[in-house]
Symmetry: C2
Subunit: 278 residues, 2 copies
């Protein structure tokens, strides 16, 4: 089979994040297509669109293939400037706005780049606060007064995925996530520290396979006691025992991405009715 190398453009009047997410999602269905990806954000005037159209046309001529454009452009006069290129245009708004207008019985506003702008500054402010909260409550930095503010407290052994998950939850969903690493002291004590016990209903456990944990720890501290498989086995087992005893729900992160872990934590919070805003 001839390898197909295609130029893919993510075109938007805003950040292009929606166009890129959409494009990546669709392209995962074509793993054999080799792609060269080009990000074209902030295309908000006909003149910028004409420059881009010229570049796309040049690439088409040079490569002998039609480029693919994933577009979330909204303004008709900007879109028009792209229509002259030989590209295949996958136009998100042109495709879906009309059925939605019909369904809602109202016209769309054709406003530009609203999704990833500061837009609703209250929501935006909550996200920034949640990031600051996650940073201030990372790795067991806890205080009883501020834990009262947490939406969730992630617990688990060191390097099981707590910190990236906390940051992702904050950044994407404005969830205030504290995280607390379970250490040998906790296992010897046999229960959670008092500060956490008072907020036990907010605790959510992350576990991981000892083999994967040893691998992750070895990248940071090769040949250490910390990364030894035996240590990892003992810690993971003690952590599970502790979580069972305290009645704390948990999930296994071994084969899950940050996005998947965060989505499962959100589902848990929605069930608990601790989280309402999408």
């Amino acid at each position: 089979m001839i390898p197909l190398k295609r130029h893919i453009y993510y075109v938007s009047d805003g950040t292009g994040i929606t166009a890129e997410t959409l494009g990546h999602s669709l392209l995962t269905q074509f793993p054999d297509i080799e792609v060269v990806e080009v990000r074209a954000p902030f295309i908000d005037t006909p003149s910028k669109a004409r420059d881009l159209a010229a570049a796309i046309t040049r690439v088409a001529q040079k490569s002998g293939h039609r480029p693919i454009v994933f577009s979330t452009l909204v303004k008709p006069e900007v879109i028009a400037a792209l229509n002259d290129t030989p590209a295949l245009i996958i136009d998100l708004f042109a495709t879906f706005i009309e059925p939605l207008e019909r369904e809602f019985g109202v016209e769309s506003t054709h406003t530009v780049g609203r999704l990833h702008g500061v837009g609703n500054s209250q929501t935006y402010q909550r996200r920034i606060e949640a990031i600051n909260f996650a940073l201030a409550h990372d790795d067991g930095i806890t205080s009883d007064t501020t834990l009262a503010e947490a939406d969730v407290i992630l617990i688990g052994v060191s390097r099981c995925g707590k910190t990236p998950t906390s940051l992702f939850l904050a950044m994407t969903h404005a969830v205030k996530a504290a995280n607390y690493p379970l250490i040998p002291e906790d296992f010897e004590r046999g229960h959670l520290p008092a500060a956490l016990r008072r907020h036990r209903e907010k605790c959510f456990g992350l576990t991981i396979s000892p083999e994967r944990l040893a691998q992750i720890r070895a990248e940071r501290r090769p040949n250490s006691e910390y990364a030894a498989l035996e240590t990892c086995r003992r810690e993971v087992e003690s952590a599970l025992e502790l979580m069972r005893r305290e009645g704390i729900p948990w999930l296994d992160t071994t084969t899950k991405s940050i996005e998947e872990i965060a989505t499962l934590v959100l589902l848990h919070l929605e069930k608990q009715r601790r989280y309402h805003h999408l």
Copy 2:
């Protein structure tokens, strides 16, 4: 006008992040439609889809309105279970996979939930490393040896947006971003500290309006010298002077979201050819 309250479902066999991003983007075009949003991730069997379909049908009957479903479902047998509901289904894959198959001349794989899975574990690993890097180089924690690893070093006065931008760049694009807060010592010295000067070509400045800065700082330390408008004015001005003198490019974050700032930093890195992977 009668307020329209519509139930919106984000349905996916994976995290649902693509469906949600798509839906949010389209709904920004209909600001008057009041929505109730429901996340339905990990719908990966016909049985889960049938349960969801039943719930959607109940909501339709109770509310008297057609729910809207944004779907990125891939498996035909799972999609089929949703087709019996009275919902308007905005189906990303059904709509766009076919033109892409025609264009590429190959069939899509119909594989499930690949985008936000661990998938390409090398790429995934790079993102986790970048997050660890951002945390280890936050707020001026620097060492010459590790700065050599940085893709970019964000500089600017305290609270102009460096930390959230660094974390977003790491999480989303695996960019290793250090950040360094400019403080009065830097202004008195009149140039960047030696460790940064050696990596001046990696430095990128963030600036902000003194008024907005005073507002942000006052939320953290009300009535402080730190948050006083006069302090903010002096710091912002000195920072700009320093960046001009050192020949460091910068952008104004006053009205920009993290996503917008990060996108502009990426464009800068692409121009400098420091960043290649999308």
